[in-house]
């Protein structure tokens, strides 16, 4: 019912975050995750970060997270 993917917050302008998608940039609103800060991994659904992810959990849970990391390292 709802697609969401993990992404890393690269910069923040108020509630508007620029997120990194394995090299492509996209925007996401952090209105629902006000604690989110630069460098955090968030789960993005339809343009909104819906939760902040624990990096270790995310690595174990999302194949795409591991793929993204493989690229950025």
């Amino acid at each position: 019912m709802c697609l969401a993917i993990p992404a890393k917050i690269e910069s923040l302008e108020g509630e508007k975050a620029t997120i990194d998608l394995a090299g492509a940039r996209a925007t996401a609103m952090t209105s629902l995750t006000p604690q989110a800060k630069i460098g955090d991994w968030v789960l993005v659904h339809a343009g909104y970060a819906i939760t902040i992810l624990n990096e270790k959990d995310a690595r174990e849970t999302f194949a795409i997270f591991r793929e993204m990391e493989g690229l950025t390292k």
Partner: protein, 359 residues
């Protein structure tokens, strides 16, 4: 992928315990359409023991949205100063007089947006137009609609409104469990709805109906881990609510729950195939009336006519598999869909059709 192999081994051993206890058929429902797609896309059914059946539930927003809603959207798209802003999901869904895609070739303005706030931006950039945002979806998507409406109000974007049909998941689960002709031994609960609601939301259901309710994510391993946990609970005869998806907490996202609460009232809602379910939908609170499309426009009453012979209703209740429907793959294909489950890219029928496995 050692982890995957381990999970499969667990599934097999729980299955052995269940079968030696006399259970040869177990039917689980994946409520969420994204799970349905992921299961089909990963070919996961072919990895499960025979006798373990997965049926799809009412968790595809397109599939449970009433045809009358689509008719209203197509009607609005025919008004010359209206721009329909919609998630791509809704573009090909047929109403009784065609889809938005067909309306577009008759000159309707239909814009695909990825986020609700893009629809507000569209309205700001086109002050000469009325932008109608098709606000569908479950708890995951409702907060975005709420925020968009608040943004429009705060920024004075008065030419923006939302045609809302947001729905809540647990009331539908209760209805399904109360139906005597539907067999559900456990629920694979939606991952991203639960990010908002928290897994504790399912605890009353697990306790009242004695059914495992396990939240899982959408990777293959996650789905299989969720199924494994359900089987374990069944084998141990210890049904409960829990999550194998680390993104989900017990209580969910407080900000999201708050903004839903402050923007919407809970109301009875009509679901395609399930009928009216008490307290299962969201309607804008009085203070946001100005942003409610249904109140801004004088909409005619649209009747809901289910296509004759279509078994979508039975499919989303878990009464049958898409392939059990006599129209499946013949009269009803993604090219010429009869029912919504074949239209929506995450509809069960479309998923079965698109990602079928050879028998």
């Amino acid at each position: 992928m050692n982890h995957l192999a381990e999970i499969r081994k667990d599934i097999d051993s729980y299955w052995k315990r269940l079968s030696s206890g006399g259970k040869s058929v177990v039917q689980l429902m994946e409520i969420c359409g994204t799970h349905t797609v992921a299961i089909s896309r990963g070919g996961l059914r072919s990895l499960l023991p025979e006798g373990l059946r997965l049926v799809s539930g009412p968790g595809c927003p397109v599939c449970v949205t009433e045809q009358s809603y689509m008719d209203a959207a197509v009607h609005l798209s025919g008004i010359s100063d209206v721009i329909i802003a919609t998630y791509g999901d809704m573009v090909r869904v047929p109403g009784s007089s065609g889809s938005l895609e067909q309306a577009r070739c008759d000159g309707a303005n239909v814009e695909i947006v990825y986020a609700a706030h893009n629809a507000v931006e569209l309205a700001r950039n086109r002050p000469d137009k009325q932008v109608v945002f098709l606000a569908i979806g479950f708890e995951t998507t409702a907060p975005a609609t709420a925020l968009a409406i608040r943004q429009a109000r705060d920024e004075g974007v008065t030419n923006f409104s939302a045609l809302t049909a947001h729905k809540l998941v647990t009331p539908a689960m209760r209805v399904l469990l109360s139906q005597t002709d539907v067999r559900i031994d456990g629920f694979l609960c939606p991952g991203h709805v639960s990010v908002i609601t928290g897994w504790r939301e399912y605890k009353p259901i697990a306790e009242q109906f004695d059914k495992p309710c396990v939240v899982a994510g959408f990777d293959d391993e996650q789905i299989l881990a969720g199924i494994s946990e359900i089987l374990r609970q069944l084998a141990d005869d210890a049904p409960s609510a829990c999550s194998v998806y680390p993104a989900v907490s017990a209580d969910g996202n407080p900000q999201a729950k708050q903004v839903i609460k402050e923007t919407f009232d809970v109301t009875d809602a009509r679901w395609r195939a399930l009928g009216v379910i008490p307290s299962s939908g969201l309607v804008l609170k009085g203070e946001f009336t100005n942003f409610d499309t249904a109140r801004r426009f004088d909409l005619p009453e649209f009747e809901t006519v289910e296509p004759p012979g279509c078994r979508c209703g039975d499919v989303i209740c878990g009464r049958c598999l898409p392939t059990d429907c006599p129209m499946f793959g013949g009269q009803c294909t993604p090219r010429e869909p009869v029912g919504p489950c074949m239209v929506s890219s995450e509809g069960s029928c479309a998923a079965y059709y698109k990602y079928g496995t050879k028998r």
